[in-house]
């Protein structure tokens, strides 16, 4: 571990994509065991930032440190769970076969498959081909893969898109439970209401961090009672 024991720490992170700089010196800190929401409008760079954290994105400046190591270093490949924005699963395998394959790659215990099926509420569909699942079920398979091997850090890119309110609530409860057990989570979302369930909220706007605060601070500082209004107020402030 380095001087800081943050789960994620980026300093002046700059990333160019397609010749255009999309992250302009991002400073992000995710304390250990916290559930941090990454919010921001479409195109603000949430997915790019998450890709940099899991080591899938080439960076052009600054530093990304994850669990005390440089992002993307081999030691992290077992300790970080990552869910891409588009579900990345094999649609010509069953749910259980997908989980079993990734579990073997991770060297996770066999019992993990059953545990994860329960956590994402897919046990009754374990034998179903992924190509015959609904969109929300597909999202949960993808999320389940990230939970295999009990990683210390979860980086989840819009894991609750397309889910009904009951499932969304259940998953956010699962995230809170994981955080309580010491897992650190960075979860991106479009739905401002989900921000209320986080320990901290980071607002990304046009490739820079606009605010990093608790849900209460967000509402108080903007004088609003509604997360959507708070967000609009902050963005309006930045535009000026």
């Amino acid at each position: 571990m380095t001087s800081s024991d943050a789960a994620i720490e980026t300093t002046t992170l700059r990333v160019r994509r397609g010749g255009v700089e999309v992250l302009h010196g991002v400073e992000l800190r995710v304390p250990p065991g916290q559930l941090v929401g990454l919010l921001g409008p479409s195109g603000s760079g949430k997915s790019t930032l998450m890709r940099a954290i899991v080591g899938a994105q080439r960076i052009d400046g600054g530093e990304v440190r994850v669990l005390g190591e440089r992002a993307g270093s081999p030691a992290l490949r077992r300790r970080v769970g990552y869910v891409t924005q588009a579900p990345s699963v094999y649609d010509d395998l069953t749910v259980a076969q997908n989980l079993a394959y990734f579990a073997r790659i991770l060297g996770a215990p066999r019992s993990d498959v059953a545990r994860v099926l329960d956590e994402v509420d897919l046990a009754p569909l374990a034998g179903r081909l992924v190509s015959r699942l609904s969109g929300g079920q597909l999202t949960r398979v993808s999320l389940g893969i990230a939970l295999l091997g009990s990683p210390r850090l979860l980086v989840l890119d819009e894991p609750t898109v397309g889910l009904d309110p009951v499932l969304r609530r259940d998953l956010w409860r699962l995230f809170a439970r994981l955080a309580a057990s010491g897992v650190s989570l960075l979860v991106s979302s479009h739905v401002m209401d989900e921000a209320r369930r986080c320990d901290r909220i980071v607002l990304l706007y046009q490739g820079s961090v606009l605010a990093d605060l608790t849900p209460e601070e967000l509402l108080r500082s903007t004088g609003t009672t509604d997360a959507d209004d708070a967000f609009l107020a902050l963005v309006a402030g930045a535009g000026r």
């Binding site: 994509r17 970080v80 699963v89 094999y90 395998l93």
Partner: protein
């Protein structure tokens, strides 16, 4: 490299194929159907004796090239490759896992095709028919490794399919099926020396024509093997953990 991850990948690819019975049927039966058609078209002539052995090498190469390049392109585009690359998955594990899976399918395919050509169509083979099977399997591995490499340069399935006429057809034309290679213009003969398929076609023709050619056949086969190895190395370079 790690045996567990390689085997897991092989099993996974074979399970994917198993869920697609139509592909299995096409993979295993189409070569035999085409060989049967060829022997029928040329019945009463000696053409089949010349072309038949070469066909046994062409089918595994082309079919495995197409299947591998399309499946790995899907992995690249569907995000599963990005996900695997953030996991403790070695690049060699990924490639060897694929090569092993399609190599196993190629063994079955070659056994059926060679058996059909020899016993049903009456193809006369002077050498050991098992050598034909061996060459067919090495050709399948060549197609698989070339497919793994080429999928890095395609963005869509359409583009992958276009690599067929670009990379595969010239090798067939220059491979010595239509006209022996030593009767080609010098420039073309020299080019064909550097194409892997020329050597596998030569190996197949030698097995068929000469009972005492085993060492020559293995020599040609070794050249094909080196090409396959080169494609494996090139393919693993194209598997990037980080992208822009």
């Amino acid at each position: 490299m790690n045996g567990r991850r390689t085997i897991a990948t092989t099993v996974r690819v074979l399970t994917q194929v198993r869920h697609d019975p139509r592909t299995i049927a096409l993979l295993l039966l189409v070569p035999s159907l085409l060989i049967g058609l060829m022997s029928w078209i040329f019945s009463g002539t000696s053409v089949f004796e010349v072309v038949g052995p070469a066909l046994l090498g062409l089918f595994p190469f082309t079919v495995m090239f197409l299947i591998t390049s399309i499946t790995t392109l899907r992995e690249r585009r569907g995000g599963t490759l990005e996900r695997l690359m953030t996991m403790p998955m070695g690049r060699a594990d990924f490639i060897l896992g694929y090569a092993l899976a399609f190599g196993l399918i190629a063994v079955v395919q070659a056994l059926i095709a060679v058996g059909y050509a020899v016993w049903v169509c009456g193809l006369t083979v002077a050498g050991d028919p098992w050598l034909l099977v061996l060459v067919a399997v090495v050709n399948a591995l060549l197609g698989t490794t070339l497919g793994l490499f080429v999928s890095a340069f395609a963005r869509t399935e359409f583009q992958v399919v276009q690599f067929m006429p670009a990379l595969v057809f010239p090798q067939i034309l220059l491979g010595g099926i239509f006209i022996p290679r030593d009767r080609m213009p010098d420039v073309l003969r020299i080019i064909s020396d550097w194409l892997p398929l020329s050597h596998s076609i030569a190996a197949l023709q030698k097995v068929a024509a000469d009972a005492n050619s085993t060492s020559e056949v293995l020599g040609e086969l070794a050249i094909v093997g080196w090409f396959a190895l080169a494609f494996v190395v090139l393919a693993s370079i194209t598997l990037r953990r980080q992208t822009r």
